[in-house]
Amino acid sequence: MAERWENVGLTAEEYDRIITILGREPNDLELGLYGLMWSEHCSYKHSKIHLALFPSAGEAVLQGPGENAGVLDIGNGLGLAFRLESHNHPSAIEPYQGAATGIGGIVRDIFTMGARPIALLDSLRFGTLDEPRNRYLCSGVVSGISGYGNCLGLPTVGGEVYFDSCYRGNPLVNVLCLGLVPKDRIVRGQATGVGNPVFIVGARTGRDGIHGASLLASREFDESAEEMRPAVQVGDPFMEKLLIEACLELFETDFVVGMNDLGAAGLTSACSETAGRAGSGMELDVALVPRREEGMNPYEVMLSESQERMLVIVRQGCEDQVRQIFEKWGLEAAQIGRVTDDGLLRVRENGRLVAEVPAASLSDQAPVYDRPRRRPDYLDETSAFDIDQIPVPEEYESWLQRLLQSPNLASKEWIFGQFDYMVRTNTIVYPGGDAAVLRIKGSERGVAVSTDGNARYCYLDPHLGGAIAVAEAARNVVCTGARPAGITNCLNFGSPERPDVLWQFRQVIEGMSEACRALGTPVTGGNVSFYNETSGQAIHPTPVVGMVGLLDDISKRCTAGFKGAGDVVVLLGSNRPELGGSEYLVQRTGQVTGRPPRLDLDLERAVQETCLAGISAGLIRSAHDCAEGGLAVALAECCFLSSTDDLAPPQLPGRTPAVGVQVSLRSEMRPDALLFGESQSRILVTVKEEDVPQLEEIARSNGAPCTVLGMTGGERLMITGGPAGQQLIDLLVTELWQSWQSALEKLLGE
């Protein structure tokens, strides 16, 4: 027979720790509360000591890690609240509801801070699309995001999608939400003021999602995963929309003391965290919690993860006004308890005491582990890979065509076109480019935002891969003319109980931290998702970086597409013979191998500063990050997104590209590395011919390499280069564009 602690996923040592805290054995309910709050998902017990490495301080940081979301000062008296969170395991079992409730949860985290949610981004990873199950998961997740996000009236303005066999059976669904809050009205998740009433508002509590955090998110997957479908919550976006509006209306008053959403671990987490943060206590009666079904016991009420619920602590004496606001929106608001000052979370059922434990012991005193870490053996093999084993291909055009049609590089419009990316009329750079830009109405300012994370690089060199994730996200934001301001992140890994996974985890964090320090972007918060494994096989280490940047003058915003013919194409940064971990190498060999491209953070900064200065001086007319697929793919994308009208949205359906390009790449390196290598710190920009000297001067003063490659014009993509200066690519842009544009729809659209 299993021991008591095993039933709730704890160890014998953890059980002893509970006895020490309580001075007695916990009853079943109390043990259940600890099991939940001390699960990896809620306590971060395996990751805490590593996450402490992140640089989280910065002048603009109004709220760092530890609250429901981080907040950055963006001027004009406004704070930008943002956070990224995973909903991987629920989406693996029930993709529509898993993704939908992922959005619901992150949106609640944002408005909990008193912020009006303004946009969403999604970072998605799936297995390869040749398998029907992966196509089902991808379509289901996209529908779930569409169904929930669109109904909320929140634009989904960006993100990324990658396909790799390592995500087979374990897709990743990471959602980022941004919100705006007046700086002096940030709400915190704190239960202060003895006697203040505690309300639960929104949806009723049911048996759905019980054990979501402890079972689904805190263990790896096996064949029995399908049976956990009942542990996935079900979302109601209409209810969430009402909840947002009612809570924001409540924030207009001065009734609110603190607020917390009911996410993972439901009431248990919200009550213990708000009391724990404030150093107060809380008393509640589960019989007062409105139910959606009869006969629920205290354990079920405390653990339920029913969606669209909030815990609100208000000033004593305002109860009736608070109820009226929720009534207007057709929502229930029930007082379930009050704030105390004895540090205890006291749970009653019809007055009878059923649990009594120190609140902070649940939220803050879980054990912290520094478990063994070990460099995985496979790295010896992958880092020894020598590109010279792979012959140079006979020609390059078919490889470019193949890359542009690969799901990782093809147009994602089939996906983002299912999301309303315009509602609220703030989106001024649409999805499909490097980063989205949102205007801040009533000012000249804007916010740029991007998510990024190349897991193949992290698999091949986690330290370097972590640093590249930050550098590239920053580069994306810079391409719009915005200065990077801060990051949030979601770290998706296998089981932390495996030394090789934990080694990767630590390395990624060290690499990310190094890049954050070099680029001046503090980490304002984040989320960890462990146990992303299927039948013992871990995913590639996948950190996702959510980067925000600020534009002082949105009229100077820049986009990726060429702006008509006759502009000079300039490369900021330099090409190196680097094919390790590239999409091209995967396509050629079927393997993720080699060493990822190097990253020189001084060079990265120089390139970014040059680009920012060139955009701000009004010289740079288009800017595009050179990323997966290399220079040839980046040039093709600049053509695909081209227009003669600076303001035209880049993805007008049926709209053919406006212009081609002719470039010459003088280099001694093998042509496939030149065309498809993924060297870092490169940005492709265009300027008018007469402005070239001025851009060169800016680059020189920043110490960034700056090379004229050619000129826009014509209808063809023409690239000459290599040691002999031969013709490498000469293709009609519209033909390339058609296959790039329709590739995903062919695979997913039935």
């Binding site: 209409f238 929309k241 315009m422 989106t427 303001l647 993805q651």
Partner: protein, 237 residues
């Protein structure tokens, strides 16, 4: 002229309509909660896009019981202006202020993108500032915009110039490829016989400023204002 943006539970383009009316066009504009039963002080009522009542049952079906929507019917009968955009159009169909019904997009997918529209009728308060046959670039964002009406209704609509906007390609041709949702006869927007009630699936409020990539939708609002200033006479010139 005083405008009201009706806020239903689940409306989400209310802020966008309000922004255009107030900040871009410069009208006195109020948000009006759907429970309000007297809207007689408003000359223009806008039923905005969104997912009123979560689109549960059918898009727009529950909203028709709201007092403010019943007020819109009264305003329409009195010759005041009523504009339904996207979900607002669906509400107008459900209330019977406009004929026909909406089905799911042919693709069965929600689609958000820019399309082209041709202005078919420039003799109504909402469109008289456009040139007849003008081709507009304007966004759609919906999952249920596939307009349907029976043959008799369609014929009536066409005979009375009630088809106000059609989906077309860049050159102005109403092709199947230019139709984003499978709508009958490429219909994107219709009006009542009198022309004071307009329903349209595309979002004019999303393209009324150059920074958003197009300001082709702006004249829907400025036309209404000019019509009102001209005391209900369609002005030319």
């Amino acid at each position: 002229m005083r405008a009201a943006v009706i806020v239903l539970p689940g409306s989400n383009c209310d802020v966008d309509a309000y922004h255009v009316l107030r900040e871009v066009v410069g009208l006195e504009t109020d948000y009006v909660w759907h429970q309000e039963g007297d809207l007689s002080r408003y000359d223009l009522l806008v039923i905005p896009g969104g997912f009123s009542y979560g689109d549960y049952l059918r898009a727009g079906a529950i909203a028709k019981f709201s007092p403010a929507i019943q007020e819109a019917a009264r305003a329409a009968a009195q010759g005041r202006l009523v504009l339904g955009i996207c979900n607002g159009f669906q509400v107008l169909l459900e209330t019977g202020l406009l004929p026909g019904a909406m089905r799911s997009n042919e693709s069965m997918l929600f689609r958000c993108r820019f399309v082209h529209l041709r202005v078919e009728n420039t003799d109504i308060p909402f469109t008289h500032e456009y040139k007849t046959g003008a081709v507009l670039r304007i966004p759609v964002a919906h999952g249920e915009g596939n307009y349907y009406a029976d043959a008799e209704t369609l014929q009536e609509l066409q005979e009375h110039g009630q088809v106000v906007f059609r989906y077309v390609d860049e050159t102005g041709a109403p092709t199947a490829a230019a139709n984003p949702n499978g709508s009958l006869a490429n219909i994107a927007g219709i009006c009542n016989r009198e022309g004071n009630v307009l329903g349209m699936m595309p979002h004019p409020e999303r393209c009324a400023e150059t920074i958003l990539g197009s300001q082709d939708g702006r004249r829907v609002f400025t036309s209404a204002l000019a019509w009102w200033r001209n005391k209900g006479v369609i002005g030319r010139g």
